[in-house]
């Protein structure tokens, strides 16, 4: 196959346009959520992934629907990339019964089992062993499913990271540990919280193939994840991927961002915007014109407006819902 933008997953033009569009949907989704939060129209807290869209979309793009994915607290992008319905996601943030979780989970717990989204997790590092367990199911049921486990740089200092990577490695499980290293765990700079330049070096402890990539380069993310997924499907075990990236916004709702400089932020926004850079790549490769690219952005905005409308149309849970689904039958 010959693609105009070569990539190991052999994604064709249409698929790459789709990925570009997904990045826009994610960004617009996040901007909209940010707006609603600022207005006090959404309850609770949220962790936005603006600036990290390539990591989510590039890794999600090489999965099949039947594969699994575990997301983090900063999971909107990851879940959208896996195919979770954005209408239901927005409805969830609005606390509606039409939401992915019927309004009971909110931003940190968005899950959609039908599309393989095993759920976002409010506990830093909480998703690692769950992803290992899903991969174990694939192994025991002898399917060729894989599980993509999203995680943040800060989470690699949790004990669960260590226990899970070791377990996955000795059992050769089909799981891909995908670290979005956005440089900070809340306010803790990873360069002070770990004494290693690249977190991928930690794979050495488990004899696990590991790689550090530019998480803002969509094609690089696709390639690395593709290799890892192929290895996993063939029964050759887990891989650790560290994708360097950056979150543009604060950690969560209120964050004065005193732990980093405005220059640093500016550099990432202006030079390493994953969407702007991929747009350029698409246009240079002749896959999109400027106008077409703009239109994709507009369509993304429309999709988000539609999601908001869907969310608004939904219903608030009635009081009796409190006691529903505590236990399964």
């Amino acid at each position: 196959m010959s693609e105009r933008i070569p990539n190991k997953a052999h994604l064709d033009d249409a698929a790459l346009i789709e990925a570009f569009s997904k990045m826009w949907i994610i960004r617009q989704f996040e901007e909209k959520v940010d707006y609603f939060f600022a207005k006090g129209m959404i309850h609770g807290t949220t962790h936005l992934c603006v600036g990290e869209e390539a990591a989510a979309v590039g890794s999600g793009a090489v999965l099949r629907k039947s594969d699994w994915m575990a997301a983090t607290h900063r999971g909107h992008g990851q879940t959208i990339a896996k195919g979770t319905d954005i209408n239901k996601m927005m409805a969830e943030l609005f606390g509606k019964t039409s939401g992915t979780n019927k309004g009971k989970g909110g931003s940190m717990h968005i899950a959609e089992i039908e599309t393989g989204n095993l759920g976002a997790n409010g506990v830093v590092g909480g998703g690692y062993p769950i992803a290992v367990g899903a991969a174990l199911t694939a192994r025991l049921k002898k399917t060729d499913q894989v599980c993509l486990c999203h995680a943040g740089d800060g989470s690699t200092n949790e004990g669960s990271f260590h226990e899970s990577l070791n377990m996955a490695s000795i059992w050769n499980l089909p799981v891909i540990f995908f670290i979005e290293n956005n440089q900070y765990g809340m306010s803790g700079p990873i360069k002070e919280m770990a004494k290693v330049k690249d977190l991928s070096i930690r794979g050495v402890s488990y004899g696990m193939p590991s790689i550090t990539i530019d998480g803002n380069n969509l094609i690089e993310v696709i390639n690395a994840t593709y290799d890892a997924v192929e290895r996993a499907r063939k029964g050759e075990g887990p891989t650790l991927i560290e994708a360097k990236t950056y979150r543009w916004k604060g950690h969560s709702k209120s964050d004065a961002k005193k732990y980093r400089t405005r220059e640093e932020e500016e550099m990432w926004r202006s030079q390493r915007d994953p969407i702007a850079n991929f747009r350029k790549q698409l246009i240079e490769a002749g896959i999109l014109t400027d106008a077409q690219a703009d239109e994709i952005q507009v369509k993304a905005t429309q999709a988000i407006e539609a999601a908001v409308a869907f969310a608004e149309a939904g219903e608030k849970p009635t009081a009796d819902q409190l006691f529903v689904d505590v236990y399964a039958d």
């Binding site: 979780n101 009971k104 690692y128 769950i130 991969a135 199911t137 025991l140 899970s164 070791n166 000795i170």
Partner: protein
């Protein structure tokens, strides 16, 4: 019926469930060729092989979490936590994940897993290997908590636990392992949430859990000779709790003695006392509810102190005498 041990009864339930359902498998430390720290899985590796009798690294958090992940995606894992004290390492996955996912995801997924783990003192293993921490999990909505006292109950309840679609905490007791009892061959279910009257009597309702049931039965013999006729109620499942059987018993006898091995303060004995005192049984009480439970100390090593730290037969006898003597 045959007499077998509590250990054998558990092993039978595990083996029967695994033979019948390919999605049931076991994970844990030393459960393979070693047969588990208390010998429960002995011989199972030979029958089921290392894929389904899965020896794990010493990684309690990953063990529990892998069970959660496997359960969400369609398996029915059973994991053995070598000592219940080490739930301290696995709790995030049990409490923040397993217990909440069904609810937090709007009921869209089930988490059918079983944690089997031995609690209790009496083996000289000291403070870090002798606790009875079951009340922690009883506090958490979404978890089912079972504490069988006999071989018969253990087998029937473990079958029900494995068949259940919720995360089930199955607390065994080290001193129960060698106790024997009549146990049917083949699969049978004891419903979750049904207490059992282990001895009926008219004077005092002794609500006892786990190994304390055996001590209460011994105490009953002594008391019977003195004309005190106690009724022994074994809740068997702490969550859901069979309040009706307990309340009915208390209404009948008018007196309640709660006996647990767990530390008294904030233990399950408090929950039992609270339930009895807030229900209609309150009006039938002729005497304040008495709680007999673990001393508010870590479990000491030295054998005499170790015994003093948890209720013994004689303590139950004394407590019953005192209740009957009152008024």
């Amino acid at each position: 019926m045959r007499e077998i041990t509590y250990t054998e009864a558990i092993r039978e339930a595990l083996s029967e469930a695994m033979r019948e359902d390919e999605s049931v498998f076991i994970m844990g430390e030393d459960i393979g060729v070693y047969g588990g720290a208390f010998g429960v899985t002995r011989g199972m590796l030979e029958e089921f092989g290392p894929e389904r009798i899965r020896l794990t690294p010493i990684s309690e958090s990953a063990i529990a979490g892998a069970a959660v992940g496997a359960a969400i995606t369609g398996m029915r894992p059973v994991f053995e936590l070598q000592f219940s004290d080490f739930i301290t390492i696995a709790l995030d996955q049990i409490v923040n994940q397993a217990a909440k996912i069904h609810y937090m995801y709007g009921g869209n997924v089930t988490i059918p897993l079983v944690m089997r783990t031995p609690g209790g003192s009496g083996t000289g293993a000291a403070a870090q290997h002798s606790q009875s921490l079951e009340n922690w999990t009883a506090h958490i909505p979404g978890l089912i908590v079972i504490q069988p006292s006999t071989a018969y109950d253990a087998k029937g309840l473990l079958h029900s636990a494995i068949a259940n679609n919720n995360p089930v905490m199955f607390y065994e007791h080290k001193l129960c392992y060698r106790t024997k009892g009549d146990v049917p061959e083949g699969k049978y279910f004891i419903p979750i949430g049904v207490a059992d009257i282990k001895r009926s009597g008219k004077d005092i309702s002794v609500i006892a859990t786990s190994y304390m049931v055996h001590k209460a039965l011994e105490a009953a013999e002594i008391l019977a000779k003195e004309g005190i006729d106690i009724e022994i109620v074994d809740p068997r499942t702490l969550v859901p709790l069979d309040k009706k059987t307990i309340i009915d018993s208390v209404k009948k006898t008018g007196r309640a003695l709660v006996v647990t091995e767990a530390v008294k303060r904030s233990g399950f004995s408090s929950e039992l006392a609270a339930v009895i005192s807030e229900e209609e049984s309150f009006d039938y009480l002729d005497h304040p509810i008495v709680r007999l439970a673990g001393a508010e100390t870590p479990i000491p090593y030295e054998p005499n102190l170790e015994k003093l730290a948890v209720p013994q037969v004689n303590d139950i006898v004394e407590a019953c005498r005192k209740i009957m003597a009152a008024k």
